[in-house]
């Protein structure tokens, strides 16, 4: 497989995760897709500066962050709330409790500072290691740890009081 084909294939596979990362960053589905499109254009143009064998996701996430900082934020349209609030993996029995949790946590997430939303997005949603998240955010690993702890602490504090106990009882 040529380098170009490998690059294209990985970039295509990255689209859903890039969009979710962009939603965490912009807090708007429409802005996120604008940002995704712009990041993909820039990645295609600067393809030669990506080193095969290194993580493409980290590289493209950094591009998206820079674009958001430099250009798009200044021109963004009115923020629209994230849509598509779906509950994945319903199991019926505790779906009501789950729905409340999801709604609460989505609101709380939106209210977090950008640096905390991003670290949650990378580690909790994307499953990156602390070191990988540190590379994307260009901060020390210790900073990732402390931001993540603060972010989780805030989300956990706003969960319904029953959340922990229900889980514990199962």
């Amino acid at each position: 497989m040529s380098t170009n084909t490998a690059f294209s294939q990985q970039l295509v596979e990255l689209i859903p995760r890039l969009r979710r990362f962009a939603r965490s960053l912009t807090r708007s589905a429409a802005d996120a897709d604008d940002l995704t499109q712009a990041a993909i254009e820039r990645a295609l143009v600067h393809q030669a500066s990506w080193k095969p064998g290194t993580r493409l996701d980290s590289w493209v996430y950094r591009i998206a962050q820079n674009l958001w900082r430099d250009d798009l934020r200044a021109h963004r349209r009115r923020a629209e709330p994230l849509d598509g609030l779906e509950v994945a993996g319903e199991d019926g029995r505790d779906s009501f409790v789950r729905l409340i949790e999801v709604g609460e946590v989505a609101d709380s997430f939106q209210g977090l500072p950008e640096e905390q939303r991003l670290v949650l997005s990378l580690v909790v949603l994307d499953g990156l290691s602390y070191q990988e998240a540190a590379n994307v955010l260009e901060v020390p690993v210790g900073t990732v740890m402390s931001r993540l702890a603060r972010a989780r602490g805030r989300l956990a504090a706003q969960m319904p009081a029953s959340a922990g106990r229900l889980r514990a009882a199962k």
Partner: protein
């Protein structure tokens, strides 16, 4: 051992070294308050994953996939027309605009009936065309007549560029500035697409009203 949020959070991610993981496990056994905080963090993680599912399987993803497969060297006219072609197909209301089946620079898509009539007959500035109007006309470097138009449809509105070749009018660029579809999108850097397409056509200055009326009367054939 004091189980603060930083330790609990790192424990949750299995990010501590082996000894620390074991020490936190042991401390949790005798600290009900910390156990509850850990459980709430886990519940928050689960709820967060459920609240931000991966967006996939929609038209936007199809469009981006097609864009990536074109590569960086895709001709500008393809990059330009693609967003509109998909935005239109999302709404399914503007059947005329389809993706080019082959990478043929000869033409992209035929305009629909309303647009074709406006392009044939309407002088620039005439707004009688059901939300479709022509802004200006010019002759491209290759001699074709081209018209910059505005169109508002249920699928969205924007500006486009159509040129008349041997097979009639062809939409060579479209810049959807607004769409009403929830899956619609606006091209990043919108507004520059048409400018780029126009400069690529190497057009002469816009025709004046007299030249335009004469061209309409000739059916846009060359004098």
């Amino acid at each position: 051992m004091e189980l603060n949020d930083e330790l609990l959070s790192a424990y949750l991610d299995n990010a501590l070294d082996e000894d620390q993981q074991a020490a936190v496990s042991a401390a949790l056994a005798t600290d009900a308050g910390a156990r509850l905080r850990l459980e709430r963090m886990q519940a928050a993680d689960r709820a967060l994953r459920a609240s931000l599912p991966l967006p996939q399987g929609d038209k936007f993803e199809a469009m981006m996939t097609a864009r990536i497969q074109m590569g960086r060297s895709a001709p500008r006219w393809q990059r330009t027309v693609l967003p509109w072609a998909l935005a239109a197909s999302v709404a399914g209301l503007v059947a005329g605009y389809m993706l080019p089946r082959e990478q043929s620079p000869a033409g992209l898509s035929a305009p629909d009936a309303v647009l074709a009539r406006v392009l044939d007959e309407a002088p620039s500035g005439d707004v009688a065309g059901q939300g479709t109007s022509v802004v200006l006309s010019f002759q491209a470097g290759d001699g074709r007549y081209c018209r910059l138009f505005r169109a508002a449809r249920d699928a969205g509105s924007g500006e486009g560029l159509a040129c008349r070749g041997s097979a009639g009018w062809q939409v060579v660029a479209w810049d959807a500035t607004t769409t009403t579809s929830t899956e619609g999108f606006r091209a990043a850097g919108a507004g520059m697409l048409i400018d780029g397409a126009m400069s690529e056509l190497g057009g002469r200055p816009a025709m004046d009203a007299g030249e335009e009326v004469a061209a309409i009367k000739r059916g846009w054939s060359k004098p």
